[in-house]
Amino acid sequence: MASYAVRRLFQSALVLMATIAALFWLTYIAPGDPASVMLGPRATAAEKAALRSEMQLDKPIPVRFAHFWGQVLDGDLGKDMVTHRPVATLIEEALPRTLALTALAIGWAIAIGIPAGCWCAVRRDGWGDRVVGVVSTAMIAVPTAVVGIYALLWFAVRLHWFPAIGAGRPGDVGDQLHHLILPSFTVGIGWVGYLTRLARASMLEVLDEPHVRTFRAFGVPGSRIVWRYVLPIAVTPVVSILGVGIGGLLSNAILIEIVFVRPGIGRLIYDAVLTRNFPVLIGTVLVTAALYLLINLIADLIVASLDPRVRAAL
């Protein structure tokens, strides 16, 4: 188990470094003058020159790369071009909100998806199974932005069940939760469908395996077989898929934050894109990517602890 963890950690670190290198290359080495882009068309030559020397654009590439790495490892992600606040602080403020949204979305997905999938597996090919199958596929297919807008239209604007905008009054947990429900469900909806199908397929696969027959041949009650012996095995692909899917969930969270006008990483990135605020952009992408890799790693480790066969592979 320990050696597996080390191997995965190494792999993740490699991917992260490659990502950072790619980001660096894209921003500062790709054609175009970052200074002009960032300052806009009305900047004077002096302003541009000042920015260039601040960003060390005039130094040779290896030096800049080393400097960049040094900054990153230091935790210094640069300063916001507009407000001059450290990017790290901005991210620190925004990240928990996005994480809350994503976590709740996953919660929805697991709470509805896995039981629905198991329910379908037990009623294989019956009416309920087929209806749920169609609905869950539809849930996966529709882009989150559309779901978000329609949900906003229906539940917030038309029915007034939930607020349409914002994150709620600071300090009022109940109000904040109320503001979270609709957005988080929207983010999670594709995953409800996906997990349902996945849980169903996984359960069916395990139920067909010979070891289930062995338990039945020994007269072990069906419910015990399912809960104690089938579910732990069936659930592992679901857990590992969640790890992989965090990326998608984060993407959706970003869109939904904009639809519902909520503070978070999404807004941060969106505003940074609009104003071509490179430091904020790079910093945010970096942190999000690192977070994503971390979550992936944890998910894989959980899977390895549940199913000992995984540790032997890789």
């Binding site: 490699l14 991917v15 490659a18 990502t19 790619a22 980001l23 894209l26 921003t27 790709a30 175009g32 169609v134 596929t137 539809a138 996966i140 297919a141 529709v142 882009p143 989150t144 932005a145 559309v146 807008i149 329609y150 906003l152 239209l153 604007v157 038309r158 992989v244 965090i246 990326g247 998608g248 984060l250 993407s251 959706n252 970003i254 869109l255 904009i258 639809v259 990135i269 969106y270 940074a272 894109v273 609009l274 071509r276 490179f278 952009l281 790079i282 945010t284 992408v285 999000t288 990517a289 994503y292 890799l293 992936n296």
Partner: protein, 301 residues
């Protein structure tokens, strides 16, 4: 040897045609297959004929008629500049399909080539390509899409670039996987033993066998591309005004969601039909291509 002529090459064209026809039959056998194929067909027809069948000019402004709800003269209503939404949806279908074709086509071409190279080429190159593709595949898409639009500027070309960048790894993997599997197949070994050149092996043996999984992947990717396009256009980073795409209609309508909700409904409707349609279509395709189901009776739907 005199008197012996090589067997006439009669199977080259009809073989794949027969397979395609058989595939179509299998797909259309079930209800889902029929309905989804109809949606896909509808989208494609609209895309091709948009210019002809649109009742109004999609970008013609008519401020007198702004924000009208659905009516006989404007079946989907008008937007905030008085433009007919039905026409904009039609034109948008064409634009979106262009993005889809350009994006997936590009990703397919590049990914396929890379996959074949990785399958046949030196191990080191293959490993390097795999690592790069892992990096791209594993990171949150919208994040990177936004970052790229910041660096490259907005517009549909950027959208196409983003789509290609994200889809290449998947096609690369499928192509590489299939190449590796099929490379070891007996008939390939036989072909090589007979002195067939790699190009011939690729076109005659590998590509036809890859066609199935690639086709399913393409059908599954169309909704993803639609999602990327509509997301980016909704955020203002994709299609620039006055170009209509489904996402930009959503963007226009979002600002007026309270007083004129019909705009977002009009923008979202084709997205719903297209994404759900293509998804079910890809499922029907996948089932039709599943070798385990070949020969068995069609399952009752």
């Amino acid at each position: 040897m005199t008197g012996v002529s090589p067997a006439p090459e009669i199977r080259a064209a009809p073989a794949w045609l027969k397979r395609a026809a058989g595939l179509a039959r299998a797909v259309l056998a079930g209800t889902m297959g029929k309905v989804s194929a109809a949606s896909v067909g509808l989208m494609l027809i609209l895309a091709v004929s948009a210019g002809i069948i649109a009742p109004y000019d999609p970008i013609a402004i008519a401020p007198m008629d702004r924000l009208e709800g659905p009516s006989l003269s404007h079946p989907l209503g008008t937007d905030q500049l008085g433009r007919d939404l039905l026409s904009r949806v039609f034109e948008g279908t064409r634009t979106v399909m262009e993005v889809v074709v350009a994006g997936i086509g590009g990703a397919l071409a590049i990914g396929l080539t890379m996959g074949l190279v990785a399958g046949f080429g030196p191990r080191l190159l293959a490993s390097a390509l795999m690592l790069v593709s892992d990096v791209v595949m594993s990171l949150p898409m919208m994040l990177f899409a936004l970052a790229m639009t910041a660096m490259l500027g907005g517009g549909l070309e950027t959208v196409v670039f983003v789509v290609i960048a994200f889809m290449v790894p998947a096609y690369f993997r499928v192509a590489r996987g299939q190449t590796l599997t099929l490379k070891g197949a007996d008939y390939v070994a036989a072909a090589r033993a007979m002195g067939a050149s790699p190009l011939r092996i690729i076109t005659r043996h590998l590509l036809p066998n890859m066609a199935g999984p690639l086709l399913v992947l393409i059908a599954m990717d169309v909704p993803t591309v639609i999602g990327i396009e509509s997301g980016l256009s909704f955020l203002g980073q994709g299609a620039q005004p006055p170009t209509p795409t489904w996402g930009s209609i959503l963007r226009d309508g979002f600002a007026f969601i309270r007083q004129a909700p019909h705009i977002v409904l009009a923008g979202g409707l084709p997205i719903l039909i297209a994404t759900v349609g293509f998804t079910f279509f890809s499922e029907a395709l996948r089932d039709a291509l599943d070798p385990r189901l070949v020969g068995k009776k069609a399952r009752p739907k």
